[in-house]
Symmetry: C2
Subunit: 362 residues, 2 copies
């Protein structure tokens, strides 16, 4: 067994979801991630936990969704039950073919998400999403499988305490902030309120790798336009050059150079799918290239990302008179901030051309 | 896609578990069965059902059980919840390596079964166990993979109405019977009461392939000795020439030429593991060779099988003043009846040297 896989498994159970004896642990993984699944089960055995292993099978999903009608989707009571009873969720991704669901009607995938929103919401507090380096994801990244493995495990198996301290510098600026403005070239100028929302330091617990600071926009406050420089990979389709125009928080116009219908399907999922749920700022300098995989791309130091759809609960204080955006979907999209770009917090420049004010070279 | 796989998938959803719209269907399968899993998901989509796919991963199970202590096992609440909410269960087997769990302490596997007996008991009424023809199972059968595929799909994709009629001839003899006696060579002479129990016609619904008639012995009634001619494959171990001696229904002595400790672990699972839960009589003439796979071997025409452990609910009428055997385990063992053997029902010979009285050549 590759020692990098064993370290990955240890980090998951210790750092991410802190597994204890008799914890009911729900693991989902594709067949290609077999090594990590085996290493993880050894760790779960060492801790006396109870695993239940679900199989992420995109070919089976494709076959299923192609035969369904959009109006037929219903809540899976058994999927809900397992989520409700689980103490921790470990979701491992890894594609044999990142385009596997590219010939499924997007409205079916949206309908499936809507019908099973309660399953998503029942996710236990202790959860993590992580990545196994497959040949399919390496191909998408235009890397050899071996080079991609090294890329993934370097980003994953790092010193997360050190990363936490680095990110806390931005949390201290963003957490008390009222307004954020993002400008990039001629194509992006967007303002939003984050007043009352919590800025969260992602030190690799819920996402492994982690490496971002994220918060929730006040849903009605978003104004302006944004173009996403990097393609959005949504359920097997690449949405190129997506752009959104916001008024009073809502998308009033959208466009894309490729798969615009898929972007439309995302926005039509429900009412909340036309509003922003997340503003995230990438800070993981070990992720030094785009790999067309959101789990990594959104953590890059030279990027910010916005998600239409559901806000992340942690960002919305329970006791405040404020609500995060509600939706069955959550789709992240990236703005490259490396050139001709400025991130402002309450009128102060916090990042210029990808470099933070607390980094060398600002 | 191989049309035999598509036919297998159709039989499962139509004949075995009769899937209807919005049924919550729990599917478990190994990665090696991917083709059948994909075909099955297409069938579930056609019927508008909700699938949840669990991954049978024997390498992960091995890693887990090797790290556990026997006294640590606890009920998996999430595994129980999914079983309770499922409307139908489709369990697909298929081994990459039939010996994968051969170096796991057998007492751990027994402890795991005991701790999760409630999960097994919560299985929905609509369930089926079936087989995908893997290279590992082909190797165990001493067959090429292609020849084994043909063997499996011939046994599975058959005319089950015709098979039902054939078997009903034995049901009519066995259902009203009081006593059964099994004699084979010098090594087996066993009598048991089946009075009040129901003889069930297995026409490929809960097991695919099916092809047996089975009933439940009255737990305290079993007397005599039996030697099992075919090895019992129990959680990765081959128990050779197992023999059991019964008094008042209970095993009072046992032996095996190989892996006797695994046989002991089975019998020590709990009190009911020392009593018989099933008498089955194989009647599927398309299964014409032993393949060291109980799902098939127990259906052969020239065999009877006995299981220590749990009785099958269908055999025990609800309203009768009679109980089937209770246990967390159910392990089938086979007696070859092809030579020097007689099966008697209430003193009448029903099968001699493998041929039934209603077959040619009796």
């Amino acid at each position: 067994m590759d020692s990098r896989v064993e370290r990955h498994a240890e980090l998951i159970v210790e750092h991410c979801v802190d597994i204890q004896e008799t914890d009911d642990v729900y693991v989902s993984a594709p067949a290609a991630a077999n090594d990590l699944v085996v290493a993880l089960h050894a760790e779960l055995g060492k801790r006396g936990a109870n695993p239940l292993l679900s199989w992420r099978n995109s070919a089976a999903s494709r076959a299923y969704h192609r035969e369904m009608d959009a109006e037929e989707y219903a809540l899976s009571e058994h999927s809900l039950a397992v989520m409700e009873e689980a103490d921790a969720l470990i979701a491992i991704r890894g594609d044999e073919n990142t385009a596997e669901t590219s010939d499924v009607p997007p409205e079916n995938l949206s309908a499936a998400q809507r019908a099973n929103q309660a399953v998503q919401e029942a996710r236990p507090d202790r959860w993590v999403g992580t990545q196994y380096p497959t040949a399919g994801n390496a191909q998408k990244a235009e890397m050899s499988t071996e080079a991609y493995e090294e890329f993934v495990w370097t980003a994953v198996n790092k010193d997360w305490d050190e990363q936490y301290d680095h990110q806390e510098q931005l949390v201290e600026l963003l957490d008390p902030a009222k307004e954020v403005r993002i400008r990039s070239g001629d194509t992006t100028d967007l303002t939003m309120s984050v007043a009352g929302m919590r800025a969260v330091n992602d030190d690799g617990r819920k996402n492994l790798p982690g490496g971002e600071v994220f918060t929730a926009p006040v849903p009605d406050s978003v104004e302006g336009h944004v173009t996403f420089d990097k393609p959005v990979l949504y359920m097997g389709r690449e949405i190129q050059n997506a752009s959104l125009e916001f008024e009073d928080g809502e998308v009033v116009d959208y466009a894309a150079d490729q798969n615009e219908d898929a972007l439309g399907a995302v926005l039509d999922t429900d009412e909340g799918a036309r509003r922003l749920g997340e503003l995230g700022i990438g800070m993981n300098r070990d992720i030094d290239r785009f790999t067309y995989n959101m789990l990594f791309d959104e953590k890059m130091g030279d990027t910010v990302h916005l998600a239409v759809g559901r806000a992340i609960d942690e960002c919305v204080p329970d006791d405040a008179d404020i609500e995060g955006n509600q939706s069955a979907t959550h789709v992240d999209m990236i703005v490259d901030m490396s050139e001709d770009s400025v991130l402002e917090v309450d009128g102060d420049v916090v990042q210029r051309d990808g470099t933070f004010r607390f980094e060398d070279g600002f």
